[in-house]
């Protein structure tokens, strides 16, 4: 295959972040507003296509992960098109597309980075760009600016912790990245500086991944920020950080006694706290944010304790979270803000397509049969039982039962209730053709989600291969 596409093989998937970043810089200089949006969308689509083809040529872990992230960025940018025009005054349109592209470049770069400095630089770029977008929500609701500022402080603290952790590890062991971490760590067992560094790095990445209890920035920001920010901050940025955390667990878990268990307990805590908060939540966007915190915890639990099979299942779960995130956040972005759960009443009659997207997304989130979420949870439970951690498997089942409660409540409102008069569910007028742009992205995410629920052998094989590549890259396994 590489002989057929020598130019693409020469470019490689590693050039995708640079391509997106360069496009962001050029589009920032363009005087056109809508034109800039189209150029940005075309560049993002081109980068996604390049990433997919390069991933087919290169294989390994980084290339498929970067391709998935690039496709998600392109879908999010296309989907955001309508919401941008709806949410913000025209003079801000030129600001938005470069920021979306820069944030996407950071996310793609982060999942492909091995060195600590590169990983944290890309993550910092992602969050800076997307938080700058979120801060624009203050033009409609002053709470949006306040929530964005609180998120900036909390994510800034998380980034500082991760930097200090990486610095301590580097100064003590000489390790500069994830791939060369296992050997020096095993040579310095019980070193307090190393343990402190690992702990700080893990906590910092957890904070950026919205893993509880460092997830407090996520829900207020999602509830008050602008609609398109939901897709970006709810799906792309935290998952890029979670991918880094997963690789840290795989690299350090086997050689640092207790580290994998500590991260598993953190994942369990996140699963429990996120589930309880989602069950108690009455705001649609907050419920989604808490639910994804719970699911991130489940993935961390499986990766930390499930061995190679758990890593494979956890990576498949992350893919499922990307799809679910796109589906549910795109539907949320189409509803008026703020969004109490009763805003969903009668959604099926108002918009059958979006109701179907929400239904499939929520069913996959709760792990209903014939969805990708069912398969990922099943695989995680199998891996945890095989590894002798029945308590963790039981926790995954409990989290799934909790998600039946809160997802079921949302489904009941959207599908079975009539539109009430208590809340103005009428959407803002659609005055521009670009407001229809989210539909293809939703349709694509819906189709892939349904397909993976029915036929997941290919995706599972890719996840298994990616798990082997990760284990080979870091020289160990959990």
């Amino acid at each position: 295959m590489s002989a057929l596409v020598p130019p693409l093989a020469a470019l490689s998937v590693d050039t995708v972040p640079a391509l997106l970043l360069a496009a962001a810089g050029i589009i920032a200089l363009l005087p056109f507003r809508v034109f800039g949006l189209w150029v940005g969308a075309l560049v993002a689509l081109g980068a996604a296509g390049l990433a997919v083809v390069s991933a087919m040529v290169q294989g390994g872990y980084h290339a498929p992960a970067m391709a998935l992230m690039a496709v998600t960025v392109a879908a999010a940018l296309l989907s955001a098109g309508g919401a941008i025009l709806r949410d913000l005054p025209a003079e801000k349109h030129t600001l938005v597309v470069p920021l979306v592209l820069a944030g996407g470049a950071g996310a793609v770069g982060a999942v492909g980075s091995d060195s600590f400095v590169a990983l944290l630089t890309w993550l910092g770029l992602t969050f800076a760009a997307y938080l700058a977008l979120a801060a624009q929500g203050g033009s409609r609701d002053r709470g949006g600016s306040a929530a964005a500022l609180q998120a900036q402080i909390q994510i800034g603290v998380s980034l500082a912790m991760a930097l200090m952790g990486a610095g301590l590890i580097g100064q003590t062991t000489g390790a500069a990245g994830l791939t060369d971490l296992a050997t020096p760590l095993s040579a310095a067992p019980g070193n307090r500086s190393v343990l402190l560094g690992l702990g700080l790095l893990a906590i910092g990445l957890s904070g950026m991944a919205a893993v509880a209890p460092m997830h407090l920035w996520a829900a207020p920001l999602q509830a008050r920020g602008p609609s398109y920010g939901l897709v970006l901050l709810g799906t792309i940025a935290p998952l890029a950080a979670l991918a880094g955390l997963v690789r840290l667990v795989v690299a350090a878990g086997p050689v640092v006694p207790g580290f994998a268990l500590a991260l598993a307990l953190l994942g369990a805590l996140s699963a429990v706290i996120g589930s309880l908060q989602a069950m108690a939540g009455r705001d649609f966007r907050r419920v989604l944010a808490y639910a994804l915190t719970a699911q991130a915890g489940v993935a961390l639990l499986a990766v930390a304790l499930g061995g190679a099979a758990g890593l494979s299942a956890g990576l498949f779960h992350l893919v499922n979270l990307v799809l679910v995130g796109l589906l549910v956040w795109l539907v949320a972005a189409g509803l008026p803000s703020p969004t109490p759960t009763l805003a969903l009443d009668g959604l099926l009659r108002r918009s059958p397509f979006r109701a179907a997207c929400l239904l499939v997304g929520l069913l996959s989130l709760l792990g209903a049969p014939l969805t990708a979420g069912f398969l990922s949870k099943w695989r995680m439970i199998e891996a945890l039982i095989a590894a002798g951690h029945a308590w963790a498997a039981a926790l995954v089942i409990l989290v799934a039962l909790a998600s039946v409660f809160y997802c079921g409540r949302l489904i009941e409102r959207a599908v079975f209730r009539a539109q009430g008069a208590a809340f103005p569910t009428d959407e803002p007028p659609r005055t521009h053709p670009l407001t229809l742009v989210p539909t293809p992205s939703l349709a694509l995410a819906l189709a892939v989600c349904l397909y993976l629920g029915l036929e997941a052998r290919g995706a599972l094989a890719v996840a298994g291969g990616a798990a082997q590549a990760v284990l080979a890259g870091v020289g160990g396994g959990p």
């Binding site: 060195s115 600590f116 400095v117 590169a118 944290l120 630089t121 910092g124 770029l125 969050f127 800076a128 938080l131 700058a132 801060a135 203050g138 609701d141 002053r142 709470g143 600016s145 306040a146 964005a148 500022l149 900036q152 402080i153 800034g156 603290v157 980034l159 500082a160 912790m161 991760a162 930097l163 200090m164 990486a166 610095g167 301590l168 580097g170 100064q171 003590t172 062991t173 000489g174 500069a176 990245g177 310095a188 500086s193 207020p220 509830a223 008050r224 108690a280 939540g281 009455r282 705001d283 649609f284 907050r286 703020p338 109490p340 759960t341 009763l342 409540r409 208590a422 809340f423």
Partner: protein, 119 residues
Amino acid sequence: MAPLTLADPADLGARALMVLVLILFLAGLGLALGSQHVVKRLIGVGLAQAAGLVALIGTADGLGALAAVQAGFLALGLATAVRVHEAYGTLEVDRVDAQDEADTAHGLAPGDGDRGDDA
């Protein structure tokens, strides 16, 4: 400049420098988490991140890009703080929260526990 190393117990200068970096980091963390004023919190975040950056010196390349991102992060925070001050008339966290609660009570921006009951 030779890289810092904690692995060599004889290198007392490097160890002392690392201790100073840790103190700077903890001071920044304390300010970021303990202050009620938004700008003080941002300064704390900046201090803690600067300490992290110093800790990475000598261990890896590419710190220039990381420093640029940090500066952008801080500038973004300060710009958002200006907007918050324009909207709320204060930068004290508890006062901003109180005004947010008042907004919620008046139904301007509901959060958890309101307007979404199953009744």
